[in-house]
Every structure is written in C-alpha cells, then in structure tokens.
Amino acid sequence: MTVEVVVTGIGATTPLGGDAASTWEGMLAGRSGVSALTEEWAAQLPVRIAGHVAVEPTIDRVQARRMDRSEQVALVAAREAWADSGLAESGIDRERLGVVVGSGIGGATTLLAQDDILEEHGPRRVSPHTVPMLMPNGPAAWVGLELQAQAGVHAPTSACATGAEAIAWGLTMIRSGRADVVVCGGTESVIHPLPIAGFAAMRAMSTRNDEPERASRPFDKGRDGFVLGEGAGILVLERADRARARGAKIYARLAGAGMTSDGYDIVQPEPEGKGGARAIAMALADAGLDRTEIVHVNAHATSTPVGDLAEIIMLHAAIGDHVVVTSTKSMTGHLLGAAGAVESIATILAIRDSVIPPTINLDDPDDKVDLDVVAHKARHLEVPAAVNNSFGFGGHNAVLVFVRA
C-alpha cells in the first residue's frame, strides 16, 4: 500500500502578492502582476516588461547581504509555508524532515554583480559569500538550514519544470520512507538585463512593451511569448497518517506524479506534446485515477506560439475534451523555476475553494484551442481532482495530480 501524502502548508511570494493568500486573491480577481521595467538598463532591451514580486523580501539586513535574491524569496515562502503547517508548534524530529527546492537559473544576478566588482575593483573585493549565493542548491540549503532539516536537502534543476519536479521528488522522499515531512517547491529571481537579453535573443519573450498587463496571453491569437516573473512557491508535504494524527489542516492530497523527458530538442517542445502526455498518463496511473476523473488542469501554457498549442494537443490525448483549463501565467508571468510550485498552490486552492482562476487576456482564442479555457473571470466549479502541468527547456515534463483530501 502506497503511503498517502497530503499538503499541510503553503507559502508564496509572487508578482500578485507577498503571500499565498494575496496571490490567490489576485488570481481570482484576474489581476496582472506584470509592469514596465523602468530601470535605466531596460531602455536598450527589446523586452521592457516583467513581473517583480509585489512585496520586497523581508529578510534581516545582515542575512540578506549573504543571500541571492532567489534565496531570499525562497526563504520568505518557506517561512510562510512552515508557519502555515503548524509544525513549529506540534514539533517534528528534524532527522525526518527533508527539503527539495530548486531554481531554473540559480544565482545569476549574484554572479553578474560580482563579475562587475571583479572587473572594476579586482579579485580581493569579490565577496566571500559569492559561491553560496550563486550555487543552484543555495535556496534549498538556506531553507534546510533555517528549518534544521536533516533527512536530506535536494535541489533538482529542470528549467521551468523545476518547481513541479521538486514537489514530485518530495512525494518520492516521503513514499520511500526517507522523510515524514518535506518542504518543497521552487524559486526564481533573474530580472536582470543578461537573462532577459538571452531569452529575448531566443525570441521566446513577449515584446508587447506598451501594454505590460496584456502581454502574457496564453492561448490567445495575439500571444507573442512569455513574460518573465520572479518569486517562489513552497509546499509542506506530510505523511497523511501523521498529519491526521496531529489534527493538521489539510489542503489536498498529492495523489501522484509523472516525470518524462522529450528526447526531442534542447528548447523546442515536441510539437504534439507526446512527452507531456506520457507524464500525464504516468501521473494518473500513479494516482490510481482515470482520466475522466480529472476536472481541471492548471496548464503550463506560457503564452508562446508553439508551446501553448502543443499542450492543447497533449491535453486532448492524455485527458480528454471534458477538462477545464486555465493558465495563471496570464497574471503572474512566467516564474521559471518557481512556476510549477506557485501553480501547484493555485491548483490546490482551486480544489479547496471550488473555483478556477481565469486566464486573463484571452480575448481572441487561437483557432486550434478547442478546449474549455476559463477566460477573463474565475469560474465556480467543484474540483475533486486536478492536474498541474510543467515543462522545461531541455525537454523536461513534470505533472502533478492533486485531489480533494
């Protein structure tokens, strides 16, 4: 008998709000967190819009100067999720507590800032905190340190599938008996000219600079690429029997996960989404659910011309035309390594509150989008079971299935 795993804590900091509740409120209201980049460095870029976190990370000044911004937002979300779980009060054996937190790009802004110092002032002035700030496992390590987690601290990296993959590994960690509780999710903070120039050079980003709030428009005919966002999402996963025994608040059950790889192209999605479809099938089998039981999908849909359509084909093949779809990236922008975690929180709260957040800016759906996408306004609907899709550059596919607990 597989060990059941439930979600007992959530935390997020996103372009819509400084915590999970305000992020959710923003989603249900159909707000955009995207705005114009007013920094001087942005003027020369082809892309001049992004979604900064709505609330600056609240980290003690001295600690903050030792942490990359991606580490800071991860810690903010982890503190919220931990407090929400009630585990601080009820207690836990730290040797049974694990952490899985990843990022897509890591401490790139630290690397670039320290390179500026190296060039200008020489090697002696480079901060001794540089390496722990830029290492990709840094966010996981800081969260683990804060919570004194000793069952293992891990940092999967799979570009935009990272957040979902981290949650999938958290599930595995508990099922395999390595931990009773895992704090897991993703983080990203790379609003800096170099990553933006890099993504823009790939022609992957929206250049709708004059209408920031309308730039992220998944499934719409006018979509022209994703909008970069920053933030973090963290879940507390816990053995269901343990959570029930301590009378914990339970948001949903993480019933299954599926992970596959395309083996197709370093950045292009396989045009029919076959790898994603296999991941969905795997996740459903893992959850012991039939495809007809899935009511809702929080889609990966980043607002790119090719990716959104590949996902539609995939959803037809793997779930069916009954499913009600949304892309919350229309509001948050694309949080890269944090996306899968923030969107898992949206999926969980859709189950809890029986309401599906909208895909804003879907004014004129692409002719090939022949699924029920919740446009403009949130829709009330019972959601006993839902899927969260995440796909990343490199051909990574990570799919999570949440069900009502």
Partner: protein
C-alpha cells in the same frame, strides 16, 4: 594622528555593516569570533573593508593573529606608521 579609540569606532562601523554587531559591544578586548560571533566568511569581509577604510594591507597570514579588536587596532596602527 588617529587614536586607538577612533580605530575601534571605525572597526565597529564595519562590524555592524558586515555582521550586524552592535557597536556598543565592540571593545579592544573583545574576540572577533568568540565574543562578537563573526564567522570566517564575515571576517574576510571585515578585513577587506578595514584595508579600504584605513588604507593598509592586511596579508592573509596576518589575519589569524588578529584575535581581538585590539590586535587589529595594533596592526593597523603599525601598518599606517
């Protein structure tokens, strides 16, 4: 001519900025690691900031001899002479 107290005050500023040490706790007899809780990476920052502030060179093999604030003041005083 800078007095020892002025060097202590200067180091206290650096210690507050880099490691969050309360300036009131900084005195000549205080040990950086044991009394003021400055970890090894922060000590590197303190040394580099002190070099810049006081216009001296503090070689790495000298740093291990700077156990207390007073040790640092003595080294800087001598180096500036």
């Amino acid at each position: 001519m800078t007095t020892r107290d002025e060097y202590v005050a200067g180091l206290a500023e650096i210690l507050e900025e880099v490691a969050g040490v309360n300036p009131d706790d900084v005195a000549e007899e205080k040990s950086f690691t044991e009394d003021l809780d400055v970890d090894s990476l922060s000590m590197v920052e303190v040394v580099v900031a002190a070099e810049e502030k006081f216009g001296v060179k503090i070689p790495d093999d000298e740093v291990q001899n700077l156990k207390t604030v007073g040790d640092a003041v003595s080294f800087i005083t001598k180096a500036q002479a």
